[in-house]
């Protein structure tokens, strides 16, 4: 494993931690700034995790609500995003463990326009794709989501934090409250499953 990242050694150097300390002091603007900075990321993390945009927004709201509630007791012991994603992961895990959790991702045909107006996954060589490459890109996206839904929740969380949110294994380990080597294993297994299931696109 790589040596411990320097920024984690001193959480106080994290600008988000400084904002959170201001929130602790009652600064509403600081809270709004944190929300505007990270709200979209948490919605996306939750969306890829639970597969439903509306639930993802509700989860993200609840995550920030928890942060708001916890602000008076906040102590900077890690990067703010580590804490944020720990709360978000727990919220998503709770969601997918609910017995009534049945949020199949919408098929491509039923996606509203605003969801379809997004950049599509690019193939390495679009000319090599027979037919409509945009459609193929959407099919690939749907397949990735399908595989994500099948992954064990911990693997899903580790893969999303690592690949989508660009967090280091150490940060993911802190968010998942596990070890770095466990994260390495989780990310490897998730990637191996993804690679196997996406063979037709490779």
């Amino acid at each position: 494993m790589k040596p411990v990242d320097a920024p984690l050694a001193d959480p106080a150097s994290d600008p988000d931690v400084q904002l959170m300390l201001r929130v602790r002091s009652g600064d509403a603007d600081a809270f709004r700034e944190l929300f505007e900075k990270h709200g979209r990321s948490i919605v996306n993390f939750a969306y890829h995790f639970v597969g439903n945009r509306q639930r993802a927004e509700e989860i993200a709201q609840d995550v920030f609500l928890q942060i708001f509630r916890a602000a008076p007791r906040y102590e900077p012991t890690a990067k703010f995003t580590t804490w944020l994603y720990r709360i978000a992961t727990n919220a998503c895990l709770n969601e997918v463990r609910r017995p009534e959790h049945r949020h199949p991702r919408r098929s491509l045909e039923h996606q509203p326009d605003d969801e379809r107006k997004r950049a599509e996954i690019a193939f390495p060589d679009p000319k090599a794709i027979p037919g409509d490459s945009a459609l193929a890109g959407r099919q690939l996206e749907a397949k990735i989501h399908e595989v994500l839904d099948k992954l064990p929740p911990n693997q899903r969380a580790a893969l999303l934090m690592s690949r989508v949110d660009g967090m280091s294994y150490l940060e993911v380990a802190e968010a998942l409250e596990t070890t770095e080597s466990a994260v390495k294993s989780l990310v490897f297994r998730a990637t191996a499953t993804m690679r196997k299931e996406l063979t037709e696109f490779l």
Binding site: M1, G39, N44, L65
Partner: protein
């Protein structure tokens, strides 16, 4: 490197691509990948998969997203309306009229019972001016409810009609202590034991408050 060596580094390739290996582990893997066509191809595939997952299109939060959060926070910071509590309903405000109404019902009931038990006795002490005529309803032991009708002159009516008219004619504000049966004045709690009274929802609240005090629950919640 041999095929076995390729299998051995297989589990390290993802961490290798994620740049999560220390130098001592990373260097031999890099050397192997540079010379092994199989591993190089696998690295290319894993690189694609990692990129596809990392490039998953982001959803744009709806306009209601931020507003919903501020609403939730506002709900948290606004003092909540206290839950209804029988202790703060101030029962003394509604207890007197309820008790008076119950007394009227009980009085009519008691009067009827007396009439039924001793039909030859004189009418109870209900002021004549408070008795309406004709009687709206007649209650007999063998006929629970009989429609009111003017009594024929040839029928013995002196004991019956005036006594059974009290329930509808009396009003709570007209009630005087001397109108009440003496046993009720001596033991007011008998009121609460009358089935007709216990059916009154308001008095059941009184009962609940009364019981909660009896249980020794002194905390306010």
């Amino acid at each position: 490197m041999s095929t076995l060596d390729c299998a051995a580094i297989g589990e390290e390739l993802v961490a290798f691509l994620d740049d999560e290996l220390d130098d001592d582990t990373r260097r031999p893997i890099a050397s192997h990948v540079a010379t092994c066509l199989v591993c190089r191809r696998e690295v290319e595939r894993l690189t694609l998969v990692r990129r596809w997952v990392g490039d998953l299109p982001a959803v744009e939060p709806s306009a209601a997203f931020a507003a919903g959060l501020w609403d939730k926070i506002a709900a948290e910071t606004t003092p909540a309306t206290p839950a209804p509590n029988v202790r703060v309903l101030r029962p003394w405000r509604w207890a007197p009229p309820a008790l008076a109404a119950a007394a009227v019902v009980a009085l009519a009931f008691s009067t009827l019972l007396r009439t039924t038990e001793s039909p030859t006795q004189a009418p109870p002490a209900v002021a004549p001016e408070r008795v309406a005529a004709p009687a709206p309803a007649v209650r007999k032991p063998d006929a629970p409810v009989v429609a009111a009708r003017p009594a024929p002159k040839d029928e013995p009516t002196g004991e019956e009609a005036p006594q059974v008219a009290a329930a509808d004619a009396l009003r709570p504000e007209d009630l005087r202590p001397e109108d009440l049966p003496p046993e009720l004045l001596e033991q007011p709690e008998l009121f609460l034991r009358l089935p007709v009274v216990r059916r009154l929802e308001t008095l059941e609240h009184i009962d609940a408050v009364h019981n909660s005090h009896d249980d020794g629950d002194g905390g306010a919640g």
